[in-house]
Amino acid sequence: MDKKPQQNPNKSQYYKKSENMPHRNRKYPNCENLEELLKPHVQSFDHFIDIGIETMLENIKPVKITDKFTNTTLEIKFGTHELSAPQKGHAAIGQRLLPFECRQEKGSYSGKFIVEVCFSYNGRVPLKEKFKFGQLPIMLKSKLCHLRGANAERLVAYREEPTEMGGYFIVNGLERLIRFLIMPKRNYPMNVERDSFRERQDGYTNKAVIIRCVRNDQSSVTNKLYYLQSGSARLGFWVKGREFLLPIGLVLKALIDTNDHEIYASLTCCYSDIYQKGERSVGTQLVGERVKIILDEVQGLSLFTRAQCIQHIGKYFQSVMDGMDDETDSSVGETVLEEYILVHLQSGHDKYNLLIFMLQKLFAFIDHRATEDNTDALQNHEVLQPGHLITIYLKDKLHEWLFKARRLLQDELSKKGQKFEFGSLLDVKKVLDRNPSKSIGTAIESMLKTGRLASQNGLDLQQKGGMTVQAERLNFLRFISHFRSVHRGAAFAGNRNTSVRKLLPEAWGFLCPVHTPDGEPCGLLNHMASTCRITSYFDSKGNIKDFFKIRLSILSVLIGVGMTPSLPKLVRAGPPEVLSVLLDGCVIGSISSNMVEKAVAHIRKLKLSANSGIPDDLEVGYVPLSVGGAYPGLYLFSSPSRFVRPVISLNAEKNHDIELIGPFEQVYMEIRCADGGEEGRTDDNPATHEEMHPTGLLSVVANLTPYSDHNQSPRNMYQCQMAKQTVGFSSQALQFRADQKLYHLQTPQTPIVRTEAYTKYNIDEFPTGTNAIVAVLAYTGYDMEDAMILNKSSVERGMCHTSIYQLETIDLEEQSGKSDHVRQIFARSNIDKSVRSSVDSDGLPYVGQVLHPGQPYCSTNNTLSGAIKEHKLKGSEPVTVDYVAVDVKHNPPQKVNIRFRRPRNPIIGDKFSSRHGQKGVCSQLWPDIDMPFSGTTGMRPDLIINPHAFPSRMTIGMLLESIAAKGGCLNGKFVDATPFPSSSRKENKELPIESDSVDDEVEPESLLDELGPLLTSHGFNSLGSEVLYSGVLGTELVCEIFIGPVYYQRLRHMVSDKFQVRNTGAVDPTTRQPMKGRKRGGGIRFGEMERDSLLAHGAAYLLHDRLHTASDFHVADVCSLCGSILTTSFIEPQKKAGQAIAKVTPRGNQRKVTCHACKTSKGMEKVAMPFVFRYLAAELAAMNVKMTLNLSAGASEKP
């Protein structure tokens, strides 16, 4: 797209920066910290590119089609794939497509996706054919993005922000991202109690063990092991929207060659007589009974060998399984076991072992030796990452395509029979062409566009919609918050039960307790704490992790510390003597319970060293033995998508290594506060870890609130909301943006009082407010009830000046339909000269021109009809044309982007807020001379707020900010207002202001003791108050006034977008009452309650005025003879009107009315009524109800 204002076509040269420019040393910020925040998004998509597609294609089962005539079998499967970087489609093939171009032309940033499809006849060497599967959207800054690896200068050359971090997709010009979604932790069996389990079938209890098994291509199957009242158990899983329940004994026997004794022994082993002292514990006997029932069930089906069991399963699933019609029962049975039972494991032995473990856990749950696992706790959660969602969705779509291909070929075979050359690949491909392969790309794109998954089998996800959101750039904080947000799932939003919304201690350090919206999505939409990360497939060096190697090294380490591996089945014991060791949901062995702690310590040590082969993000979940607590065991997780956060490990060497811990293990760890406080720990259980910094538990946005530890906590929540609604410096690449609406603060400032996070995340690149001198006093009465007074002169000098950039896209192609020849062009009318003031000869507006509402800004000419259509400016305020961008792909141009600029300088009714949840509405722009002034400095405040804003809200942080900022101003230094300074590590503690005189001996008791002397040294009151004089009278105000600079944000809610007035205007055509809706110039409803209030006041005239005169006042002709208002009609004036009119008052062109029913105009009367009354009569008539009016002359007045 070319820009109109700049005639220079080779615009990129103007960004070309040669190295020999020593003067140009603009320091680009180091945005590593910011990139770290978005890493989970980018990394998951990198994984998708690197290996995700590959493994996914391998995992799609081939389809087989057999031609019965020629007896040839065709196997179709997917081979290798190619995914290319985004490139331009049309004329300029091979040219790379840049994200900014996509934004401008409302296109998608996507790369070509090609997969080799292998056709193999009768098992011969496959013939490979490349199929184009359309365009796959590419995430920005992922490995296939052109912006990857570009430094700030290159990014600027690409018309991006110098701090562009990617992580989102561009679909139809919109920036959309896939939001993190909470999922049950993968490959971890959980005890769950739910009443709905009872409703499965008769005899089911409410208890089960649930495990969500995830394959290496991220697709998952959830298995449920239900407990039956009989003592047996059923393994449940969903196939095609139906739940199938298999007796557990059958599954156990089908998995491996085993015998009843072995099963009995391994299940009953977990009860030793020593551990039966517990009150509710039940003996071996009871478990033995249960196992007997389980085994009897299988015997009852007269199944004895493994082959019989598999065959039995196969027989049942023959009809359910797709594409297995011709297979034998046993191979169907094998497939069921492979595809639906514990899919994260490959070998039957592993599955068997895990099932045994799950049964043990289930029995422990039933016998109250282990509690329920909380499905709402973060401990049992992981996250669904964007790349993984795309992988599973793409797999589903490709799978679908393959099956459709098979069906098409089969249909073709049965329809045409021998006529169809099944052996010819060309003919086969012709049939396949009916199954458009391009639709795959479109499906992914529309998933990103709408957030809806159009899938048959549900993908083992709880929700089908709301997966994506738009990455709004209202301001930087809002933008970044989108990427840090984690949603609990749409299924819980409608849930009346509020337990899911609870803030649980497990979430400490992972999810921010402050940063969640209040209201409907409260507690469901959380934000990750600033230090929280998500594990990925990449190690710290950026290489893909080799899970096989990791597994082996973990195994060897564990065997080294005394674990007995599970393979030669030797151990026949369970807790409490021996604990099972699970690695990513696979029972790898068991370890004696008195050796576990040593083993855990050893692994943790190895975790920290780089070359041990143990990944640094390994989660070592050691659940210790307890009476009635969580089921004990050593659970190791190396899988991706887990939450982790760094803490300091306090090992013997005292070298303070940073260890990554997960929410599962955190619960069982001793982590002390960063100040080293032991919080009641004794020497018996010393702290093993230490927090890095107390602010680590807050999200990025919550971390920016200064002195948030001095505020009442809900106020900090409000600030997190308001920070995201603030008008800020939204973009540095403002000139190149093509957002629908962009708010831009003209004169932003950096806050004087700031937290460490402010510098860490380079918020200075996108500041969001102004340091305003705030006086806290009740001055004119205009500052009541959270209103605030702005100094008129301050506003005139530029405080909070804002503009809104609004984009209109005019696409003629879209309007005229997708026909080949151009029907419409941009052109100005030659006849109508009045347009010329606002429309140029090319039919587009002049850049820089001010347009008024109703003025045309663009005109198009239909070349066939010659009709000229003008686009007129909507709204009620004047705008300036900011830029006109023309798509030059077509000649004449078909698509333009016109951006308008609306000035929005502060006016009465605009909303402002400090950073402490103290919002207010501007009630007056008060003249500077009337503002109170300081006698010594002559300072007048920019802003006055009412002191009543403080007592109930307790935002002490705001008062401290004011004092600190005043001190900072006087000293010319920024003030550090990081919360919890007293709880952070002592060695790097600094004074909030790096003052020259550091008296480090005396530890100040409170913040005021630190800030006060600073003010006194400059001749100010230590508490921040000053003597002010009335601006009107020049006399001293009675009280000293608290005054100082506070960072104020301007919120995006402005009156200009909200005010609604009307006197006369549009009416609803059916009722003739005023319309509703601000956009249509409608009114505000004067409703029942308002009516009641007027009735109560006896304000009859006003009531009549509002509900009748100013609404649907109507004078109807009523026939007094029949009482109808519907049968009246005008007589056409062609008749001799003389005699009829003579009776009626001869006024103007009064027309004669007659009644159709009575065939006379004798009884016609005029009656004023609301028009809806007439409408009611008509509606009733439609229902065969006649309404008659009885007219009588009023007692007091004549009609």
């Binding site: 204002p5 700049q6 220079n8 103007y14 040669s18 420019m21 003067h23 140009r24 000139q735 003209q746 008129k792 002169s793 301050s794 005139e796 000098r797 530029g798 000046h801 503009s803 820089g848 300036t880 900011d882 600029r901 000035p903 003249p927 500077d928 001379i929 002034f933 300081s934 006698g935 010594t936 400095t937 002559g938 300072m939 003010l1015 006194t1016 400059h1018 001749g1019 100010f1020 009151n1021 230590s1022 108050s1025 000053e1026 003597v1027 601006g1031 009107v1032 009278l1033 020049g1034 006399t1035 001293e1036 000293e1040």
Partner: protein, 321 residues
């Protein structure tokens, strides 16, 4: 008049005078007078500021409104302002506001053709009237006050290669009440002269340490101690900010009435800081002129209501802009 016997003759004593700074005493009058003077200085002394900008080319990073706003805020030397006409009252141009009696035209045309970032400053504004120029430009030519090397002009916008700014600007006379850009004063403030009486007898009952801590309690240096006699004395009465810290301290020490501080009702110390549009001294004189005109208008309108319309410029002052 009856008020004649209460008539007072305010006195002004100038303490310190620079081009942009003035400190003076105003005596023998009351707060209403002092505050009126302050208000007039801030909001009603006319100056000249850019009011209308016609942008021809703007390919800079800042948008038209923003640049216009910045131009408006540049202080222009406004010694002419008192004699100039308001555009709305100008007969010569029918309120068009573009004639020589009520406006000054500026031109600005800068294009960056180098690889360096180029600053567009107030020095690039070409005035048609040599008496009305941006104040920093005037200061540079007069070589008084500022250090010329330090003075790089007020930056309007920065340009990169290929960017250009070309515009015509009209400066007009106006007052601060209408828009802050016409306010000639950066700060005008006054304080009541304090009268401090130390109760010597009570003071002597304090130890040296107590005396010192009492003196320290005032954030500003009002009191001092004689190193020889250890006598507490007033060092700088005017440094007192009426914060009553010392009185509170005295009460806290159990010695109420240690010091008595009163504000004199009839003497004020004014501090005036000018933007440079008008010299600080001239600002005060202009303010008194404007105040006089306003009072004249009040006196005249006392007799005739119709007279209100005849005042022209004065009328507008009376009606508040």
């Amino acid at each position: 008049m009856e008020g004649a016997k209460n008539q007072r003759f305010p006195k002004i004593k100038i303490r310190e005078m620079k081009d942009d700074y003035l400190k003076f005493e105003l005596r023998e009058t009351d707060a209403s007078m002092a505050n009126a003077l302050r208000r007039v200085m801030l909001a009603e002394v006319p100056t000249i500021a850019i009011d209308l900008v016609e942008i021809e080319v703007n390919s800079t990073v800042l948008n038209d409104e923003f640049i216009s706003h910045r131009l408006g805020l540049i202080p222009l030397t406004s010694d002419r302002a008192m004699d100039m006409r308001f555009s709305r009252d100008c007969d010569a141009c029918d309120g068009d506001g573009q004639c020589e009696y009520c406006s000054v035209e500026f031109h600005l045309s800068v294009r960056c053709d180098q690889d360096q970032t180029q600053d567009v400053t107030s020095a690039d504004l070409q005035s048609t009237d040599p008496t009305v120029v941006p104040v920093d430009v005037a200061a540079r030519s007069s070589s008084s006050g500022y250090d010329a090397s330090e003075n790089r002009g007020i930056i309007i916008v920065k340009l990169r290669r290929g960017q250009e700014l070309r515009l015509r600007a009209i400066a007009r006379k106006g007052i601060g009440k209408d828009h802050a850009k016409w306010s000639p004063a950066a700060t005008v403030t006054f304080m009541y002269e304090p009268e401090i009486r130390i109760n010597e007898e009570l003071m002597e009952s304090l130890s040296l340490e107590e005396k010192n801590s009492w003196i320290e309690s005032s954030p500003t240096k009002v009191f001092g101690i004689d190193p020889n006699t250890h006598q507490v004395m007033v060092v700088d009465a005017e440094a007192y900010t009426y914060d009553e810290e010392v009185i509170k301290k005295a009460e806290a020490m159990g010695k109420p009435g240690l010091v008595e501080i009163e504000a004199k009702e009839d003497s004020f110390i004014f501090t005036v800081e000018s933007t440079g549009a008008v010299k600080a001294s001239q600002l005060v004189i202009n303010a008194i002129d404007v105040l006089k005109q306003k009072l004249d208008a009040v006196r005249l309108s006392d007799d005739t209501v119709e007279a209100d319309d005849q005042f022209g410029e004065l009328g507008s002052h009376m009606r508040g802009g």
